[in-house]
Symmetry: C2
């Protein structure tokens, strides 16, 4: 798959790297510097290159949106038309100092994004685990018992793409239903962040749903 | 410990039964009928009896609040003064038809409860798993790997009581921090409910946080 990364920070950089290692063709875009994008592409050790948001988006089979919420409009404007594209978002709708959700309860960041991009096929995924755990989970991807990763969306075929990407990086995809369930998965992410960054067991935290 | 159950429905009935089986002295109160309370007490096969909310609350070392949100004021009025009591709540702030939270994002049911009862020591716990999984987890409580159960609160000693009760019924207690974290754990409960009741794998669902 050709995957365009919009926002090559902690999440986008690591997920793009793992997508490349899993065999996908990755374009990193929208980091602090061109050098950082080139280093990501070089270190990914796969089919990866640096590009502009437009290059990342236009050729992509799937786009990963991984920017801070305050940058969503800017990166989307640079990306250009994304009609019909699978848009996997892990961007939480956080305020400038990352202390609170700016959209919650009666809507969600994922739903707000889908309203901005009515012709894109938005899936919410990857936001619910800290970036610190991603490489470890990927390394352990051959184990029988994998951590879960929830995703939700309103378009069945784009959810299949997201589920495949979730599998590719070593998690067990858990379909949480329609996009409005992001109203629950986004606060869940803040619970995970609390346990990962405010607890004493460190940020390398994953979760697993277990049906008995 | 003497534990008073306020609300002996699905959650309160099952948790009270397990507390009794774990060796605690349980008073069941506030069910649809006196018969149901008596049957719960009889079937618990431990030190359990039926009582009024007042009887359940006044002698208790810990109170479990497990009523529908619409019944909180009524049951608390019947329970009487709960100053200084450990009040473990699994009551989610749901509307009448259980379709949405009536308190969320800028507060939580647990925080609203603590405001109603400024002299009680409120802990939010047990709300995040479906009642359907409780007996199975209890039966498997000798296994090395247990499912997690998050709890949060502002009073350290009452959190220790809650953590012990969580252990007693077979879960691994995970301290999620202060009571305001219920703003995240309560929507998380709705994610769990979605996976348990709207998915195709059934309601016997637990979760486990895994630090790598």
């Amino acid at each position: 798959m050709r995957i365009g990364i919009l926002g090559s920070g902690l999440m986008g950089g690591k997920l793009g790297t793992l997508f490349a290692r899993a065999g996908h063709d990755v374009v990193f875009s929208y980091a602090r510097s061109e050098q950082k994008l080139k280093k990501l592409a070089r270190d990914a050790k796969g089919k990866a290159r640096a590009g502009t948001p437009r290059q990342a988006a236009q050729e992509a089979d799937a786009i990963l949106l991984a920017v801070h919420w305050s940058r969503v409009d800017d990166v989307l404007q640079q990306a250009g038309d994304v009609s019909g594209k699978v848009m996997v978002s892990c961007s939480l709708p956080m305020n400038a100092d990352d202390s609170d959700l700016v959209i919650a309860h009666t809507s969600s960041g994922a739903e707000a994004l889908a309203k901005k991009l009515p012709k894109a096929r938005v899936v919410s995924a990857f936001g619910t685990v800290p970036s610190e755990v991603l490489f470890d989970v990927f390394e352990a991807r051959r184990r029988a018992t994998k951590p879960s990763l929830v995703y939700c969306g309103d378009d069945a075929s784009s959810k299949q793409v997201a589920a495949q990407l979730i599998r590719d990086v070593g998690f067990d995809p858990v379909d949480a239903g329609p996009l409005r369930i992001a109203r629950y998965t986004e606060p869940f992410t803040l619970l995970i962040a609390q346990l990962a960054y405010e607890g004493d067991q460190g940020p390398e935290l994953a979760y697993r749903f277990e049906w008995r």
